[in-house]
C-alpha cells in the first residue's frame, strides 16, 4: 500500500483550525524537547515566553517595541505576496532604509523636529523603494524571476552598511564601526512616556491599516488581488499586470525601508551592522503565518515580539538559550505551511504496483 495525496472536494469547517492547532502542538513538543535538553522545565519556559511579558508594563512595552520592525516587514511581504510578487528582499530593503535614514540623521543637525522627523522617514522609504526597484524592473521588463534577485540584494545591503561603518561613517568619538548618534531633531518621539515605545509603532499600525484598506477596499487593491490570483485572467480583463506588479514591489520596498527608518530613528539612534536581526526574513514568516492578511500580520508580529522578549527572560531565569524564541518561530512556520496545504488534501492509500 502506498499513500497518495488527493485534493479534497469538500472540507468540514473544523479541519483547518484543527490542523493549525496540531501544528502548534508539534511546535510546542519540539520546543519542549530542546528546553528539556537545556535543563529547563518546558511549562515554566513557555510561561516565561508567552505569558510573563504580558504581565508587566515593562515586558509589554518591550514586546511591542520588538514587534515594531516586524509590523513593517510583515506588511511589506504580505502586500507583495498578495500581488504574486515574491519579494524575499525585505531584509535588504529595510537595511537600505536604515542607510537613507542615517544619512539624513547625521547630516541634519539644525533642523526642527517637525521637518527632521518626516525627512528621516521619507529617506528610509525612498531608499527601500529604490532597493526594490532593480528586481522589480527585471521581473516586469525582462521576466526574470524575482525570488533570487531580491534575496541576493540582502547581503549586498549589509556589506554596504559594513563598508560605510568601517569607512566614512565610522564613529567620530569611539572609532568603533558604528555611526555617530543621529541628530536629536530626527529622532522619533516616544509615544508612551516612561517606556521606549516610539512613533514608529504608531506609523506601523497606520501602514497596516492603509494596506488593509487599500487591498480590501480600494480599486487598486482589487486589481492587485486579481493580478496575484490569476495574472492571465487579469490581463484578459484589461488590467495592467506589469504596472501593478511594479508599483506593488516599490510600495513593498518602501514599507520595509520605512521600517529601517523606524529602527534607526526610534530605537538605535545610530547605524550598526547588527541594526536588523533578520527582521526582513522574519517578515516572511510573519506574513505567511498570517495567511497574508494584514490584521493577521499585526497580530503575529505582536506575538513574535512577546516571544522575543519572553525568550530572553526565560533564558535569564532558566539558563536556556535565548535563541529558542527563533527556533519556536521557524518550527511554527514549517508546521503551519505544511498544515495549510495538508488541509486541502486527503491521504488515499493505493495498492502499490507490482
Amino acid at each position: 500500500m502506498k499513500p497518495r495525496f488527493a485534493l479534497r472536494s469538500s472540507m468540514p469547517w473544523w479541519r483547518g483550525p484543527a490542523l493549525i492547532a496540531a501544528a502548534a502542538i508539534v511546535t510546542f513538543l519540539l520546543s519542549a524537547i530542546v528546553i528539556r535538553w537545556a535543563g529547563g522545565d518546558p511549562i515554566s519556559a513557555f510561561r516565561y515566553m508567552f505569558i510573563s511579558p504580558l504581565q508587566t508594563k515593562f515586558g509589554f512595552t518591550e514586546s511591542i517595541l520588538s514587534a515594531t520592525p516586524l509590523v513593517f516587514t510583515g506588511a511589506a511581504v504580505a502586500i507583495a505576496f498578495r500581488a504574486g510578487y515574491w519579494n524575499i528582499g525585505a531584509e535588504g530593503q529595510l537595511l537600505a532604509g536604515t542607510i537613507g535614514a542615517t544619512w539624513i540623521g547625521i547630516h541634519a543637525e539644525s533642523l526642527p523636529a517637525i521637518i527632521g522627523v518626516p525627512l528621516i522617514l521619507l529617506a528610509g522609504m525612498i531608499c527601500g523603494a529604490l532597493w526594490a526597484l532593480v528586481p522589480a524592473l527585471l521581473r516586469t521588463r525582462l521576466g526574470i524571476d524575482e525570488v533570487v534577485t531580491t534575496l541576493l540584494l540582502n547581503p549586498i545591503a549589509l556589506l554596504i552598511i559594513s563598508g560605510l561603518l568601517n569607512g566614512p561613517w565610522r564613529n567620530s568619538e569611539t572609532g568603533f564601526p558604528d555611526s555617530d548618534v543621529i541628530s536629536k531633531s530626527t529622532q522619533l518621539p516616544i509615544i508612551w512616556p516612561g517606556t521606549r515605545v516610539h512613533l514608529g509603532l504608531a506609523i506601523g499600525v497606520v501602514i497596516i491599516a492603509l494596506c488593509w484598506w487599500y487591498v480590501g477596499k480600494m480599486a487598486g487593491g482589487l486589481k492587485l488581488r486579481a493580478v496575484g490570483m490569476s495574472p492571465g485572467a487579469a490581463r484578459i480583463a484589461g488590467l495592467p499586470v506589469e504596472r501593478t506588479l511594479l508599483i506593488t514591489a516599490l510600495v513593498s520596498g518602501g514599507i520595509a525601508g520605512l521600517g529601517g527608518s523606524s529602527e534607526v530613528a526610534g530605537v538605535a539612534h545610530q547605524l550598526t551592522t547588527g541594526i536588523s536581526s533578520g527582521f526582513g526574513y522574519t517578515g516572511v514568516i510573519v506574513a505567511t503565518l498570517a495567511a497574508l492578511s494584514f490584521i493577521g500580520s499585526l497580530c503575529i508580529a505582536l506575538l513574535f515580539g512577546v516571544i522575543t522578549v519572553g525568550s530572553f527572560s526565560a533564558s535569564r531565569a532558566l539558563q536556556i538559550p535565548s535563541t529558542i524564541g527563533e527556533f519556536v518561530q521557524s518550527v511554527l512556520l514549517l508546521t503551519v505551511v505544511a498544515a495549510l496545504v495538508i488541509q486541502k488534501y486527503r491521504v488515499v492509500w493505493t495498492r502499490g504496483k507490482k
Binding site: M218, L222, R235
Partner: protein
C-alpha cells in the same frame, strides 16, 4: 531500446487487432465519452474525425494510458489489456504523438529518446545514437541525433516524436492532429510517412483530424465522433466528403427550424475588417473582409483550424495584423491592441472561460474586473453599487449564485453567464463571442444562445465564432465560412442550409 517489449510480432507478422469496448468518461459535469466502441487493425490507417470536444483526443488518451476511463475495457485479440500509464501502453505496442509534444526542449534528440529507457547509472548515448540511425533509415525518418530539440522546426520535432514512438516498438501509432501544426509541404511528407508505415512496416495508424482532404488521401477507414459518441464508422471509399461533414456537424433539425428570420440591414456597419492579413508560420489570415451591423449576428463557420482562432486573436488585440485595417464606427484603428479595441467599444468572450475567470475572487468582484475604476471613488470601491450591479446581473442573467461566492465554485454554465454578464453590462458596441456553449449542458446552451440573441436585438453587433454549426445556423443573421485563412463565402442566415455551408467548409465554391 525496448523494442522486444512490444506485444505481437512488431514489424514482421501481423499485430493483433485492438478493440475498445464501451468506453465512457466524464470530467465533472461534462460527459466526454459515452459508451464508445472502436476497433483498430494492423496495417490500416484509421481516421478519427470530429469537432473539438467531440471526444477524439480523450478516447486516444485513454488508449495511451494518459487518462483512465470510468467504464469500458481495451482488448487485444480477446485478451484484456491493463493500461494505467503510457509505459503500459508502450509495453502493449501502442505509441502516441500528442498534440503538445512530450519532448524536453533543451535536450538533444538522443537524450529525449534515451529518456524512456534510462536506468539510474548506465546511459550509453552512443548505443542510442546508433539505434536512432538504424531506425531513421528503416522508417525513412531522417533526424540529426545531436540536435537540440528547441532548435528544430516543428516538423522535425514531430518526426522525433514519431521516431521515439516507433523505437519503443509500437505496432500502433496514434497521431493527434499531426497536420495542425504543419505547413503544406510538411503535410505532404508526413502523409507519405504515414502511408509508408502502413504498407511497409504494417503499423496501424490512428489519425485524429478534422481535415477532409488528408483523410481521403491516406485513411482506409474513418470513424466520426460527435458529442462523445461514435456516429459512423466506415471505409473511406464508401462515404463522401459532404456526408462526413454532415455527420461531424450533426443533424439537429429542430435547432435549424428555429432559425431567425431574415433581417434588413440598417445603417453603416459598426465593425468592418478590410482585407486583414496576418502572416505567421502556419495558418494566418489572408484578405479577410467582413462587416457587422448594429443588431446583427454574424456567425463564423468553418472546420477548425481554418483561421477562426486567429481572427478572434486579431479582434482581441493579441495578434497584430500585417495587412488591411480594422474599422470601428468609421474610425480606423491604428494598432489592434487590447486597450485600443476595448476603448473603441469591442468586447470579448474568449473560448476558454477558465482563462478569463479569477476563480478565487468573488462573483461580484469578477463582474466589475474590466471596469473597476468606474465602480470606485478615489478612496474606496463602491461596495454597495458593486453588490447592486451584481444582484441585478444575477437576476437578469439567471445566474445560480450569491454575489460573494468565489467564481471558481460555480458550474460551467453559471460561470459562462457571469462572463457574459460582464461582457454585456458594459454595453459594448461589438461583441466578439467565441465558442460560447462549448462543454455546456442543453439547458445552459439554450440560455446562453438566447442571451446573445437578446443582446443583438438591443442593438449590439455580434460576431459569433463557433464550431457548432447548429449554433451558427440557429442564431446568426449571416454566416461567413472560413477556409484556409480566408472568408470563402458569406451566406444569408435565413437561406443557409447545412449543404451550402458544408460545401463551403470543404472549400468548394461554385
Amino acid at each position: 531500446m525496448n523494442s522486444h517489449e512490444g506485444v505481437g510480432a512488431t514489424h514482421g507478422g501481423t499485430a493483433p487487432s485492438i478493440f475498445l469496448r464501451g468506453i465512457s468518461k466524464a470530467f465533472g459535469e461534462t460527459i466526454a465519452l459515452s459508451d464508445v466502441s472502436l476497433d483498430l487493425r494492423a496495417g490500416e490507417v484509421h481516421a478519427l474525425l470530429g469537432e473539438n470536444g467531440a471526444g477524439k483526443t480523450t478516447l486516444m488518451k485513454i488508449l495511451y494510458g494518459l487518462t483512465q476511463p470510468d467504464t469500458g475495457l481495451i482488448e487485444a485479440d480477446g485478451v484484456q489489456l491493463t493500461i494505467n500509464s503510457p509505459r503500459d501502453a508502450r509495453a502493449a505496442g501502442i505509441g502516441m504523438v500528442t498534440q503538445h509534444f512530450s519532448l524536453v526542449k533543451n535536450m538533444t534528440v538522443v537524450e529525449n529518446i534515451a529518456l524512456a529507457s534510462a536506468s539510474t547509472f548506465s546511459l550509453d548515448l552512443g548505443v542510442v545514437r546508433k539505434e536512432i540511425k538504424a531506425a531513421s533509415e528503416r522508417f525513412g525518418l531522417e533526424v540529426s541525433p545531436d540536435a537540440v530539440i528547441s532548435t528544430l522546426p516543428v516538423a522535425l520535432q514531430q518526426r522525433v516524436e514519431i521516431l521515439k514512438a516507433l523505437m519503443s516498438g509500437c505496432s500502433y501509432l496514434i497521431l493527434d492532429e499531426p497536420t495542425a501544426v504543419l505547413g503544406p509541404q510538411d503535410i505532404d511528407s508526413l502523409l507519405d510517412v504515414i502511408k509508408r508505415l502502413r504498407s511497409e512496416s504494417g503499423i496501424g495508424v490512428v489519425l485524429i483530424s478534422h481535415k477532409m482532404a488528408e483523410i481521403e488521401q491516406v485513411a482506409d477507414r474513418v470513424s466520426v465522433l460527435r458529442r462523445g459518441k461514435v456516429v459512423s464508422s466506415s471505409s473511406v471509399s464508401g462515404i463522401s466528403t459532404q456526408e462526413l461533414i454532415g455527420l461531424m456537424m450533426g443533424t439537429d433539425e429542430v435547432a435549424v427550424a428555429q432559425r431567425r428570420t431574415s433581417k434588413q440591414l440598417v445603417g453603416n456597419p459598426i465593425l468592418a475588417l478590410n482585407g486583414v492579413g496576418v502572416n505567421i508560420e502556419m495558418g494566418g489570415l489572408s484578405e479577410v473582409s467582413l462587416d457587422v451591423h448594429p443588431g446583427e449576428i454574424v456567425g463564423i463557420a468553418g472546420v477548425s483550424g481554418n483561421g477562426q482562432a486567429e481572427l478572434v486573436r486579431v479582434l482581441s488585440g493579441t495578434l497584430a495584423i500585417d495587412k488591411g485595417s480594422i474599422v470601428v464606427e468609421g474610425n480606423t484603428l491604428g494598432k489592434n491592441s487590447p486597450q485600443s479595441l476595448m476603448r473603441a467599444g469591442v468586447g470579448m468572450l474568449g473560448e476558454d472561460r477558465h482563462a478569463s475567470a479569477v476563480h478565487a475572487l468573488q462573483v461580484m468582484e469578477n463582474l466589475v474586473l474590466d471596469c473597476i475604476d468606474s465602480f470606485a471613488t478615489r478612496f474606496q470601491l463602491k461596495q454597495k453599487e458593486i453588490l447592486q450591479h451584481c444582484e441585478s446581473a444575477i437576476a437578469q442573467f439567471e445566474i445560480k449564485t450569491t454575489p460573494k461566492q468565489a467564481l471558481g465554485t460555480l458550474s460551467g454554465g453559471n460561470m459562462q453567464k457571469v462572463l457574459l454578464a460582464r461582457l454585456f453590462s458594459r454595453k459594448p458596441k461589438v461583441a466578439i463571442i467565441s465558442q460560447p456553449t462549448r462543454g455546456l449542458d442543453v439547458m445552459a446552451t439554450r440560455y446562453v444562445r438566447s442571451l446573445i440573441m437578446k443582446a443583438s436585438t438591443e442593438g449590439t453587433a455580434v460576431l459569433l465564432v463557433s464550431e457548432d454549426l447548429d449554433e451558427v445556423l440557429e442564431i446568426a443573421d449571416r454566416v461567413a465560412v472560413m477556409y484556409r485563412g480566408a472568408v470563402i463565402g458569406i451566406v444569408d442566415g435565413s437561406t443557409a442550409t447545412r449543404e451550402t455551408i458544408g460545401q463551403l467548409m470543404a472549400g468548394i465554391t461554385k
